[in-house]
Amino acid sequence: AQTVTQSQPEMSVQEAETVTLSCTYDTSESNYYLFWYKQPPSRQMILVIRQEAYKQQNATENRFSVNFQKAAKSFSLKISDSQLGDTAMYFCAFKGAGGTSYGKLTFGQGTILTVHP
């Protein structure tokens, strides 16, 4: 079974600064996908960024980028130029891509990020 661990329950950052959220995972699968989701106070789950494990290049989406270290099973999220609207709970998630996988997501415990003005 896969596990996803987010070791930082809470983080805070000043507006316009950069912050990195950590995530580690454990799996025996060789092919999989990793995601970061943002959950604002409305509690909707918003996809921030996705990484395919077979791609060495780290994914980027505007101010969001990841540092994917496959050997270390680490998948951190970097938010540059933090904005007040980035304040939310952030979840790291794993999805296997093996032959018997139907794509269920396994989530970490979440990190509450607060951006201060």
């Binding site: 996908y33 995601f35 989701y37 409305s42 509690r43 909707q44 789950m45 918003i46 996809l47 996705r50 395919e52 979840f91 998630a93 999805k95 891509a97 996988s101 139907y102 794509g103 269920k104 997501l105 396994t106 989530f107 970490g108 415990q109 979440g110």
Partner: protein, 112 residues
Amino acid sequence: EPEVTQTPSHQVTQMGQEVILRCVPISNHLYFYWYRQILGQKVEFLVSFYNNEISEKSEIFDDQFSVERPDGSNFTLKIRSTKLEDSAMYFCASSEEISQAFFGQGTRLTVV
């Protein structure tokens, strides 16, 4: 932009009552999921549905839960006899392929 739609946004029900949570996945998607998030906790997988049948379910998804895709567009989660501990946010998700996952806005279920 297509989106997953869930209704109602908030449902209050009495303990022991049956409740049906409804979802309209994105139209060309093939994989459907239900997840649950108890307040302050992480999101937990309940069930996946593919090719008109359950493809995987978690230990949480016991006999009081069932899912249906009755008319080719809706995807429902039924809780037969609700318990206080079923109070949570329930998320529907759908995807066209394994690599994706699009969530609805969630239904907050409160069991009193």
